[in-house]
């Protein structure tokens, strides 16, 4: 841990001593975590470990009671709101797939493109070739080219998950926060998703929250285990899964 502190300034994401509580319940307790640029990190932990709340803190949805959250070594995220944080380049995929169900797949991606998001720009927007090319590319990546004109609400669960990942791609953020990307997916889909994330990781920093150990193993990246709002263990999947306390937490006492 001490080793990491010295590299804090160069980290893509840096959390230190973060606390948050709801009505006396400590959801996050002295959480410290660092993510290097270009890294992919898997976060595991039982229900209520504070995984989603951590993401809420990073993306500005929840304000921590105390602690430091730095992005790119310089930006204090605790002072910014969701929009500003998204503009800085942090994209998020939700635990429950959240796409704009009454709009087409293509429009979902169009909305996600990281172009000027001001009211004026969207009001007088006219599609450009570059934009449609990017959308085509993303559609291809997430294998939804055929479904581009379908309403997002009519997609299958797995397709929705992918669409949401596709929206992240269109957003092209520096840091991707991916919450349970394979929940409810078939084995084949899970495998494809792992491949997709690895591909994405070539150009982006990624944080994945996931329960599915097969999937985490397939990703083959450093794993952090959270419990009761604090880091329980960190290391390779094998190191973490052999950690006694982790076993205790997962299997109950």
């Amino acid at each position: 841990m001490n080793v990491m502190d010295t590299r804090a300034t160069s980290a893509m994401l840096y959390l230190d001593g973060v606390h948050v509580s709801f009505d006396g319940f400590h959801a996050i307790n002295n959480l410290s975590l660092t993510l290097e640029p270009g890294e992919m990190r898997a976060i595991i932990g039982p229900n209520g470990a504070g995984k989603t709340t951590m993401m809420d803190i990073i993306t500005g949805k929840t304000k921590p009671d105390e602690g430091t959250v730095l992005f790119d070594g310089v930006t204090d995220l605790t002072r910014l709101d969701e929009t500003r944080i998204a503009e800085l380049g942090i994209g998020r995929k939700f635990q429950k797939p959240t796409v704009f169900e009454s709009q087409t797949v293509q429009d979902n991606l169009l909305l996600a493109l990281n172009v000027d998001h001001s009211v004026k720009a969207t009001l007088f927007w006219r599609g450009s070739k570059a934009e449609s090319e990017r959308i085509d590319k993303v559609l291809e990546t997430i294998r939804l080219t055929e479904a581009r004109n379908r309403l997002a609400g009519s997609l299958s669960h797995g397709q929705k998950q992918w669409l949401e990942i596709g929206m992240l791609l269109a957003q092209d953020p520096k840091l991707l926060l991916v919450d349970e990307p394979v929940a409810g997916m078939t084995d084949v889909e899970t495998h494809l998703t792992a491949e997709l994330l690895k591909e994405i990781n070539k150009t982006h920093t990624v944080m994945v929250v996931e329960h599915d150990m097969t999937f985490v193993r397939e990703l083959g990246v450093k794993v952090t285990c959270l419990h009761e709002g604090t880091v329980l263990a960190e290391g390779t999947i094998d190191q973490v899964s052999s950690n006694e306390r982790v076993i205790e937490v997962y299997l109950g006492r």
Partner: protein, 535 residues
């Protein structure tokens, strides 16, 4: 001038002429005065009261008290006046002789406010030595109010004999009031009077002191200091009074809002027909009272006790019916519920208008809810006090119900996690219906209480719906304690603003404050926090 009126004036003039010339030949001043009651002229009646009361005749008391109760009958044709007793026996007022029957042409001698005051004053000095303590106290108080010099003798006589402490104080104050206005009273007497009134220290004393006119310097000075001391104590009391009014208004708001706190706060149903549930409760009260009036008049004081459960059942049953037939199809679409229930409120209003007519219906106050008592220098009306107690009781019962009964547990389970509750074997649709019924039933109970202070008309509900929503939203949706605090906060704030800004501006100010407050705390005073809220 209409013909009949001039005819009446002519006959009046004629009869005056007859009285003036024909009667004095065989009657004394007392008999003359009594005959004047038959003239149906307020000035004559007033004159007659003065003469009769001051005559010392033993018939004076029966005549005046009969006059007060509308038992003094006068025959305009024969100029005879009769006192009818409660037992149906009558006497001739002038002679005291019993008469067999009062002629049909006789009617009760009419009074107006001025005469009522004269009657009070006259009865006051006549009953100062009544054997009954209550009557004596009342007599002393009416002498205090009228403070006529002529009563001084009677007051002094009564004071000498009086043994009861509170009557004695009242008599002392009456005496002080008389002396203060008596032109030939000595300076010492007047100073004493000022001191007595200062000790009394209420609005009436203040009124006498400010209105006493020219006095010797020393008295004026003493009065000025008494006035300022009374005024400063009254100022403190007025704050207390505002707080009480605020509590009272808050209790009305709370009562109207509790039902909504269940249907809207707990279930998330925006029930625009909530006000109509209140109205149904009020109409239930009306029907109950109507039945009691016609069939069992003795039970009138219990009418509200009977109406409360009935109103709960009526409004609750209609609530269940509404939930089953409309609202259950609209769960998860709160804004659509708003529209449907708005339509429903129109239908219910018009239904009541068709059944009971558009005009206000009379709902009486039972005797234990009428009147007021003084607490220090503030007046507390019984109906407001009872409504406050009633509201708190309803609130407590509701809380206990939600916490300790099986239904309460199921309700909380269903509202927190419907799917989970359903999978645990709770019949969620039954719980929904019952919850909505409970909210509506409580609104019905509120209607019983509100019928005591407001109109019972088809529009009754409309006047409470907006306020109720404000209270629930201000307090924080889904939190009964928030509703309680919200209601009392708004009530008290309103009542402290009203004397400063006036009723209209005060209300506007409250609304603006709520709007601004919601900016600060978008989920109300007692908002639930955490991720669960967002999900």
């Amino acid at each position: 001038m209409p013909a009949h009126l001039s005819a009446r004036l002519c006959s009046l003039a004629l009869s005056l002429f007859l009285i003036a010339f024909a009667l004095p030949a065989f009657a004394g001043p007392f008999e003359d005065a009594v005959a004047k009651f038959a003239n149906d002229d307020f000035s004559d009646t007033e004159e007659a009261i003065g003469v009769v009361a001051g005559s010392g005749n033993k018939l004076a008391f029966p005549i005046i008290s009969a006059l007060q109760d509308g038992r003094l009958m006068a025959d305009p044709d024969s100029k005879k006046v009769y006192v009818t007793g409660a037992d149906g026996k009558s006497i001739d007022a002038a002679t005291g002789e019993a008469v067999a029957s009062v002629p049909d042409s006789a009617s009760a001698v009419r009074l107006n406010n001025r005469l009522r005051r004269s009657v009070d004053a006259a009865l006051g000095s006549l009953t100062l030595q009544s054997p009954d303590v209550g009557t004596r106290l009342q007599a002393a108080q009416s002498v205090f109010k009228s403070h006529e010099e002529t009563a001084l003798e009677a007051v002094d006589a009564a004071l000498a004999k009086e043994s009861n402490k509170s009557v004695k104080t009242a008599l002392g104050e009456a005496r002080a009031a008389i002396l203060l206005f008596k032109s030939d009273a000595t300076e010492v007497e007047k100073l004493e009077a000022v001191a007595t009134l200062k000790a009394r220290g209420d609005q009436d004393a203040l009124a006498l002191l400010t209105g006493m006119g020219d006095q010797p310097d020393s008295v004026t000075k003493a009065a000025a200091s008494a006035i300022s001391s009374i005024q400063s104590s009254l100022a403190v009391w007025s704050t207390v009074q505002n707080a009480w009014y605020g509590l009272s208004l808050g209790s009305v708001l709370l009562l109207a809002a509790i039902g909504l706190a269940i249907t809207f706060g707990v279930m998330g149903v925006i029930n625009m027909a909530h006000g109509e549930m209140v109205m149904l409760g009020a109409y239930t009260t009306f029907v109950v009272q109507e039945v009691i009036r016609t069939r069992y008049p003795g039970l009138f004081d219990y009418s509200l006790l009977i109406a409360v459960p009935l109103a709960f059942v009526v409004a609750g049953a209609i609530g269940v019916l509404i939930e089953r037939s409309i609202i259950r199809f609209l769960y998860g679409r709160p804004l659509e519920t708003l529209l449907a229930t708005w339509g429903l409120s129109l239908v219910l209003q018009q239904a009541v208008r068709t059944m009971f007519g558009p005009t206000n219906r009379e709902v009486g106050n039972p005797s234990w809810m009428s009147g007021a008592f003084e607490l220090g220098q503030i007046t507390i009306t019984y109906n407001r006090l009872w409504i406050l107690c009633f509201t708190l009781a309803v609130f407590a019962i509701l809380l206990a119900m939600l916490r300790y009964t099986a239904l309460g547990l199921e309700m909380r389970a269903v509202t927190q996690n419907r799917r989970m509750a359903a999978s645990m074997g709770i019949a969620t649709s039954r719980v929904d219906a019952l919850t909505f019924g409970l909210g509506s039933g409580i609104a019905g109970i509120a209607g019983v209480a509100l019928s005591q202070i407001d109109n019972v008309s088809p529009n009754l509900g409309q006047s409470y719906i907006i306020d109720s929503f404000m209270v629930v939203v201000f307090g924080g949706v889904g939190n009964l304690w928030g509703t309680l605090v919200g209601a009392f906060t708004l009530g008290i704030a309103n009542k402290f603003l009203e004397p400063v800004a006036g009723a209209v501006l005060g209300k506007i100010a409250i609304l603006v404050l709520i709007i601004l407050f919601i900016q600060k705390r978008p989920r109300g005073l007692f908002a639930l926090k955490g991720r669960a809220v967002e999900a």
